[in-house]
Amino acid sequence: MEDLVKRFTLPTGSVVALDRVSFQVREGEFFCIVGPSGCGKTTILRILAGLETKSGGEVAVHYHQNGRPRSAMVFQEQSVFPWMTVEANIAFGLRSQPMPAGTRRDIVRHYLDQVGLTTFARAYPHQLSGGMKQRVSIARALATDPEILLMDEPFAALDEQNKLLLQQELLRIWDESRKTVVFITHSIDEAVALGDRVLVMTAQPGQVKRVVPVDFKRPRNIPELRRDARFGELVYEIWSALRDEVLRAREGRG
């Protein structure tokens, strides 16, 4: 099995959003990126997804040529098409993949079940809560069976309870598939709870401050994890690395 590597080095034009950011994500790894708002973490993801171009440096994704899409993005909840049913939303990513209609239906049904929305298959998004819409967005990306799952603060808009529930569900689904995940968040807590490694970014221009390994056993139980003293230590460690950056970001805007 070859080792998947992605490398970044990106000096941008007039406003430097990302300054020589370098990191590697291993195949099958759950990789989290935290940083103060405006540090360019979303930009990294958008470049990875091919939605944005880079201004320099090298970004390479090693992937298997097996017909699976290279990557799929879980966007924030308002990305769910309001004019499509839950079913049609989840099937959207599959439309570009040639397959018999029956297979497509089965895949959609499988992921509806995975995110617990089977009874809402025919519902329209406005009939769903924010958490349910986010599940649709997750299922839509998972259904395409991408090699890399890109997640852009997927739980940012949810309330605490829903967030915890979805985080746990995401871990469950991930434990089954062990896809490579790049997960952007501003929540240190979330990064530590989910990730194998956490990359801490500096304030603008975004640079790599440090990469913190998180070596909790899997499968993880998030509430249990939070009781662990090492969890608090890790959160504190990352917060210490981040604190100066958050303050700098505030001054910069001041």
Binding site: F75, Q76, S79, F81, M84
Partner: protein, 277 residues
Amino acid sequence: MNALVEPRIVWRAREDTEGRRRFMTMRRREILVSIFSPVVILIAWELLVRATLLDARFFPAPSSIVGTFWAVIRSGELRNAVTVSLTRIFAGFLMGAIPALLLGLVLGLSRMVRAFANPIVYALYPVPKVAILPLVMLIFGLGEMSKYVIIAIAVFFLVLVNTTAGVVMIDRIHFDVARNFNASRRDFYLHVVLRGALPSIFTGLKLALGVALIVLVTAEFVAARSGIGVLIYESWQVFAIERLFVGLVVVSFLGYVLSLLLDELERLVIPWQRDRR
């Protein structure tokens, strides 16, 4: 001073004793009131005319209009007028709305095309359509085509402007989703752009319907041999006031039915907004 004093006044939340039943009767009452308001106006009108408080020469009593209505229906005159006018509306509507929709999608998607077309659109849009009628008749002759064209022009601008706005208002994130999931061109235009803009497109279609009726009647006043506009205009010329009122009632009824049809169509193609209202 800190002796505990029992509060003496007790406030209790009111209990909902009637609940859903009251809501239902409210709704029913609303419908009844909506039905009765025109009836009340008609009765008042009839009484005022009978009491000679209203000049029957200008406002003939509803009862006498009903009689004329019947006569116009029986002679086949009304059916003929309605058929001719409806055909004009439909033809003009399609001729205007379809190109406007396609062009609107293009305008909404491309800033460059928008920058190019906007000055032209906004210069032509406010021109009263009646003002172009002579030119249209010069080019398309006195036949049916000139009526179709003038209605089409009126419809075109309203649908164009609203379609463009509808596409511009689509959340950019939906375009990102389409790109990220490698949507085909067809899926992109049909399932992201068109469906995303549909609510606004329907706003345009409804506005266009109203304007189409105005332009229709105007065009028929000026240059037509049949149609509802002609019925009204000729009645005026021979001072057949009851007939004139028949024409007015028919125009208002046509407008009502057509907008109901549009509402129904809207519910059909925009199911995701059905229970929002």
